[in-house]
Symmetry: D2
Subunit: 354 residues, 4 copies
């Protein structure tokens, strides 16, 4: 069940067909979920901006560090050059190196990349060490490759999958969530899609309703929750023709969507947003045929609707991750899913759902 | 009537005595309100970190540009040196120069500053040109000085005063608002105070309730509201001993509070946060007695409660500005106050107030 | 006499026709020089990216703060929106407000701007308070307007003029300097022009020769020179079609040019670079005719030659400012010009000139 | 032979005992050099801020990206939290993941870190793919650990060692270089040490003398040199008690030192500076004993001498790397060392050496 299945409506803009990041044409998502024995609860999620050779056909991209307590590999080059040349891969904190290594290997071996000597792998993470034996670094390069190779469009599995397998959010089981917005034609008709890996704390609000307060479980409400310092990785895709500068602005708005769920970006939470544009005419050739490139870019004045879409889709993606996640035992601990049976009555009390 | 007078409770942390930025010991606020004839609806708001000579006893400070479409004078020096050496002054967009000039003059003439040859005046603004004849640049240096000189502690007047005299927020009359949070002793006992000048758009939420959606007035709901591109200046004060780096992080959280009211930081909105610490032992002497200075700083690990306070106080300050503001005619136009008679029933419907 | 007139050759790239920022087609420079009585030694320098209505036809721009101890008004909006909508005006530290006010007025009154309600004036400064009665704030709005209105192309007066009238550089009289580079056609044929307002310290090197060391006058060589904390404002223009992101990179290279003269960006020096592109097809309409704009942009891969040009032109512009400046008395003090009769023999000793 | 052995004097400040980064008390450097068969020419260099448990006793740190075309892992967390919790490791571009993985493993297994679940490994790189079979990714975790474990104080081997084994600089063989400055007691008596991994292009200047121009080998002088897009990693250590904000400023000055050697920070050069302070009283406990920490920090006003030291030491470290490096064949190519027999006469011609 996703938020909308419960009658929860977030924002005012229409959603895309799948209400997923894959509504942005060409975007694919793949998960490798590692649930083994009593201690391994982790995984990998890969997001592909397009199905071609990403290194040879880079996409405009930007990054916003809402709170930089995190190990986002590859960020400085994205910011300097304004582009992304690899899949975006999310995993656990201590396997970032593994994922980098796999992405580098993946890129080196792709057809057409025989002479490539430099690859900027963009790898984000959150700390799933509460439910997962994170020190065991159980993600393998093969796990990463599998997430990339099995990535598909269409519906995206949410909850306890991929990089969200072992995460905790607002004291409940977190995970992967996704959502999208499709702007009306009068606003450009562009799609904005978001996928999140939720692993952070705060005072949960669902479509404005004070769920965390009502349940009495929020950051600083007790000592345990103080330590729910995880992270939230947010990936924003759009087919709008926006360059790196405006993608950075778009990324900032996704962080605003996180705020609307009650997230507080606590000291220990690595809250990063990665934004890219899939607009085909903006692809950046690794070896440009000529010194200049013609592009058709959205002007600053027409970005506000995109901003609104990014806020809404991020908020909904986070809420989706919570509804999709299920109870999880691991590493000697247990984290309960968001209890729909308690939450829906609260939402009804606040008239958020009928 | 302030939000809490209506029974609206935002967040989970306790408020300070005045529920105002002035709950931070030593902070003073002054307003000059200019309502003259049919066309002048503007003013000045000054925030003083302490009552001494600010140039000689600077305070740690930082700035976060949520959306930099705005004319915040003095920002780069604050970010480089990590300190603030003047009152923070807010006014309208086209009178920033007037305010800078007045602050420079004010500083030069202060006792002890006879040899000062460089002053970094921190002046923010929003565009009140809908209700105000902004092109007339009606704010005078004397108006600015008056706001500084009449600044006081205690209760802060909100609504159509000072730099908020002519502003518009979520399609309603905006203005000045303030709020504070006082952390429990177990979290350090620090106070965080916020004051805002609200002049921006989005989809209004009050304590989570979808007021803008219910009223049918929100950005992109009609053409007129598209153009409500104003700005939101946010000033955050705290007595917690935090340096410039952690103040910048605190400033980012205030931007999250703006997000919770439904603000979208549209392209044309200059959304800035200025944060400073009033902790006495952190004062930065203009002419230090020795090369090093001893300080006692809050560690990163203890900042999260401050972050939460900044989010809550900012959200509430914005809502306070809306409830305090009254209908305003000016410049041939009229903007209605937030209609409490319609809003309170909505809040009741959503059980946000009883 | 300029550096090249003495046989000093900086760098390896060819210079433009005037060896000035005005070699970039359309760029104009104007000075107002204020030398009055015994105490007034200051002025204004205005740089116009093109001769049309800058507000209606903005240019791509970026800013790099090498050392942000300075009062560069307007910087945050340039960085957010990636464009410049006013002349760049340089003056003394305490008259930034005057210049802002004048630029705002100038823009408001321009034909076509009758409805403009927001203007981002970009005003830089350095502190000329050693030779100038800076506290007197002697620059008037009329002085600023005059610099804008009298701006012309072609040769640019250097030395004790405009915003450089009262400045001090490496312990000698500083001032205005300019230079340019014209890339060979094989590198794109673009022009890079630089103008500087020099007012900083360090250990002077001229085309590599250790002039400061030989003369025994450098920062920390004695107490007096410790305090030569001024600033260096650097403005870089190019006709290459580069967007704001690559202009920021270009701006960073100008800072490298400053380094090559022996500047150390001391704590008190506000060393800023403003870079803009005059490429006509990159002009940004204030009211865009359509949501997207077609542009033809230089790719990252072809920026290195521009970078090299910016480094060389900045180094030479600074040296030009020193050779052009003459002895100046003012404010009860005197600063000697760089003594060519001593410097040229040093340069000959180091075989920098023949 | 180092630069000073040839009589080359860079700057005006005195050097430390070893003229190396290890002059900063407690700093250690270790190299693993991989020269195997015809194709492997790479390695690892590790810099340890102190000999204790770096994770438990972090040091204040900052990063400046002069040109972010590079894969500096760990940078965002250093910038957010203002500290460094691992050794700094340098290697080749495609082995960054290997080095991260090794540093994470190293940290996890250290005594006292049994419960650590998050490690921010700071790993920089340059591209040695001209002389090295970089695609083979020949660096192993063991190689990385060895560099860390064999790190020592005292003299630092320069040239074709460690991460500099296969690098190319100004068209000559680059490598590792180091230098230091020891401020006079009147300026605080602090030490600033720098180590560099040189792999970039431009127009070489040695102590100001135009060596690259004289030799006719410089960027854009021919097509081949255009492609010498490498990187320059610069690590700056100081025992001065400076926090992260002032360390970032210090890092910027190191980039100025690079400029003085003729480096142009070309598009493809990842030029990063990492700066940290070893001042013992600034150590940041992983689990602070109390919410606040007392520190004694250098004030802004006393930073300029440090800045000057960082510029000088960086310039000299780069030049040292060139003089120390020797001819190298690898990967089917050959790069000659800087030819001292041609360079010294040039330096004599320019009276840079006697």
């Amino acid at each position: 069940m996703r938020a909308r299945d419960y009658g929860i409506n977030i924002g005012v803009l229409p959603v895309g067909l799948f209400n997923a990041i894959t509504d942005v044409p060409g975007v694919k998502v793949g998960h490798t979920t590692l649930i083994k024995g009593n201690h391994i609860r982790t995984g990998v999620t890969a997001i592909l901006p397009h199905s071609g050779n990403l290194f040879q056909q880079k996409v405009p991209a930007a990054i916003f560090a809402g709170n930089g307590f995190g190990k986002l590999a590859g960020s400085t080059q994205v910011m300097e050059l304004g582009n992304l040349e690899s899949p975006v891969v999310l995993t656990n904190t201590l396997n970032v190196a593994t994922a980098m290594d796999a992405v580098v290997g993946y890129t080196l071996q792709q057809k057409g990349n025989e002479k490539v000597q430099s690859v900027n792998a963009l790898v984000g993470e959150t700390n799933d060490g509460y439910l997962n034996d994170i020190r065991g670094r159980h993600v393998s390069r093969q796990d990463v490759l599998q997430a990339i190779q099995t990535a598909t469009g269409g519906n995206v599995t949410e909850g306890n999958v991929g990089a969200g397998t072992g995460t905790v959010c607002f004291g409940f089981k977190g995970g992967i969530g996704t959502s999208s917005r499709k702007l009306p034609k009068s606003m450009g008709g562009y799609t904005i899609g978001v996928i999140v890996q939720t692993n952070f704390g705060g005072v949960l609000q669902i479509a404005g309703a004070p769920v965390g307060k009502e349940l009495g479980t929020f950051t600083f409400s007790n000592q345990l929750l103080n330590n729910v310092d995880g992270s939230c990785m947010i990936v924003v895709a759009t087919d709008a023709p926006v360059d790196s500068r405006n993608l950075e602005r778009l990324a900032k708005r996704a962080f605003m969507g996180l705020a609307k769920t009650g997230g507080i970006a606590s000291n220990g939470s690595g809250d990063y947003v990665i934004a890219f544009s899939t607009a085909e005419q903006l692809r950046i050739a690794h070896s440009p045929a000529s010194p200049t490139q013609g592009t058709e870019l959205l002007t600053n004045d027409y970005t506000s609707a995109l901003f609104m879409g990014a806020i809404e889709a991020t908020e909904e993606a986070i809420i989706n991750s919570l509804f999709a996640a299920e109870n999880m035992k691991g590493n000697g601990k247990e984290v309960a899913a968001l209890p729909a049976d308690k939450v829906i009555p609260i939402l009804k009390h606040y008239n958020t759902v009928k």
